[in-house]
Amino acid sequence: MGSVLKIDKLTHYFGGLRAVYDFNLDLPPHALWGLIGPNGAGKTTIFNLVTGMYNPTEGSINFLGHDIKGKKPYQIVHMGIARTFQNLRIFDSLSVLDNIRIARHYTTQSSKHTHTRDENYTKQFSRTSLFDSLFRTSRYNIVEEQIKEEAYELLKIFKLENCMYDTAKNLPYGMLRKLEIARALATHPSLLLLDEPAAGMNPAEVGNLMELIHFIRDEFNLTILLIEHHMKVVMGICEYIKVIDFGETIAEGKPKEVANNPKVIEAYLGKGE
């Protein structure tokens, strides 16, 4: 099987500012890769380009052999890419359960953008229409129960099941981070983009998170690309790392190779006199 995500010569300008330049990526299935670089290097911009939040100036993005350039964000989610955010974007005043259930909503609707999925994908979900929702038909109850059960199973993996009826904004920060990952998983992705999952976590939580990322990759058969500043995480779990600075790739390779690369040290620490 080919690559999950293939990015070719991706370039993006914000007006006159070159945010990403000539970025290439060939992400194999089931990989766990890291994307690192100093602040403002263009890492999040790459995520935003892949998820359709920005339209790239140049270059191509292929997901499982399908061109996703110019697709809308929700369409890309239907195709199977999910992401989390550097600054949390939780549905604050809704319950934890609702946060998950919203992510599961689109699977109850017919979508033209699930052609990247395998055949069994569409069969596993029951469908519901607006009519069912407005008039509470028996089909509505079946679908709602299915969604709720699945959400509960997912929250159990993240040990959030006791909090499922709490309003999301009342949860501590570390739990919200987990909730966001759980919400991304609820969309049934095959590629997961994690934007600084360890930001703001204490060392113990970071340790748990690393185990968790490994676990969900195997459990949900995912390919993961993550941005991280926390070197312990990046060096600990990533199989391969790309380093970018000012939008350009300055180094790539196995964690150890990258860590000793003089260009990387220079980008992070500056040049010695």
Binding site: F91, S95, Y140
Partner: protein
């Protein structure tokens, strides 16, 4: 309980224990009591009229709450949709009764006319929503305000429906039971929508549009959906209003009335159906009650207190509501009977 779970008796018992069924039964009892009190003249026609107007405002406020409170799209041209519904249904009923004496009973004509008005209002909502829902916040508000005024001006200039004179001679089909049942149905349908998977998609747009899009919600489609459903019920409400006061006049659907409905939504609480219902009743009764109160006050003081003070006091009360309950009377909370049992669980995680 568990043992004879399948017996017909326990099924029936379960059915009648459900909140929504209890709510329906309770509202029918309330309706019958009010009708009974009216026949014994304990509630005079004036009070019944105020109740009717309140119920129409319930429909308008609840449907606007779907757009403003639940979906978070700031729309202030709601009376425009009501105008479409009012003029459409009123034209149908007046024309049909004038031209052809049909064999159909009047109330069936009326219900069909109301539905036609609602559908046309929904269509208007779609036409307006499609271009304007690309905008956010204040810009959307200005756009909807503009569209509301355009609709009003169009009716002001169509001679067929009376132009600036208004459409006169509308039959009085909006009786208390019809208005009451319609508003209960509106409340139940909007409640069903809000507490469903589609409704949660709408809520997610209010909470965080970017995140909503990135968990697979087609935000444009759902915003239009909220707009169309809101406009549909506004059209029904407008139709009921026209057949209640027996005239459809462009000034009835002016900007100030859109603001009045908006105030009900905010005073009741954004994202609370029960809040909108309470606010629609409180504000309509307050507005009328002040009339009576001011009259008796001037009698008492032997000093003329003009009717113009009514609006001053009304506005002051609104300011106090907003100062001391910024989130509205109900906030985002819902009265128990409107929450489905399976959704009414509150966690305490430790």
């Amino acid at each position: 309980m568990k043992l004879n779970n399948n017996s017909i008796f326990s099924k029936i018992l379960y059915f009648f224990k459900r909140r929504i069924v209890l709510f329906l039964i309770a509202s029918i009892i309330v309706m019958l009591i009010i009708m009974l009190l009216h026949t014994f003249d304990i509630l005079n026609s004036y009070i019944i009229q105020i109740i009717n107007v309140s119920l129409v405002y319930v429909i308008l406020a609840v449907s606007l709450n779907l757009i403003n409170g639940f979906t978070g799209q700031f729309s202030i041209g709601h009376m425009g949709f009501a105008a479409v519904g009012a003029y459409t249904s009123a034209t149908i009923t007046t024309l049909l009764l004038k031209i052809t004496p049909t064999s159909l009973p009047n109330y069936i004509i009326f219900i069909l006319a109301l539905l036609a008005g609602g559908c046309l209002a929904g269509l208007t909502g779609f036409i307006i929503g499609f271009p304007s829902l690309r905008l956010k916040g204040d810009y959307l508000a200005i756009m909807t305000l503009g569209f509301g005024e355009i609709i009003r001006t169009i009716f002001n200039n169509i001679n067929f429906v009376g132009g600036p004179r208004g459409l006169l001679g509308i039959p009085k089909f909006s009786t208390f039971p019809i208005i009451f049942i319609t508003s209960i149905l509106t409340i139940i349908i909007i409640r069903n929508l809000v507490f469903s998977t589609h409704g949660r998609a709408l809520l997610s747009i209010r909470e965080n549009e970017v995140a909503s899009e990135l968990v697979g919600v087609d935000t444009t489609k759902y915003k239009i959906l909220a707009f169309v459903i809101g406009a549909f019920f506004a059209g029904i409400g407008g139709g009921l209003l026209a057949h209640l006061i027996q005239i459809a006049h462009p000034t009835q659907f002016g900007f100030m009335y859109s603001i009045l409905v908006l105030i009900m939504v905010y005073a009741g609480g954004m994202g609370s159906i029960s809040g909108s219902v309470i606010a629609a009743f409180v504000l309509t009764f307050l507005s009328e009650g002040l009339r009576v109160a001011l009259a008796s006050l001037s009698d008492l003081l032997k000093f003329p207190v003009g009717d113009q003070w009514r609006m001053v006091i009304y506005s002051l009360l609104l300011i106090f509501i907003m100062l001391f309950r910024t989130e509205g009377l109900m906030g985002m909370k819902e009265l128990k009977f409107l929450i489905p049992e399976e959704e009414d669980i509150h966690g305490k995680c430790s």
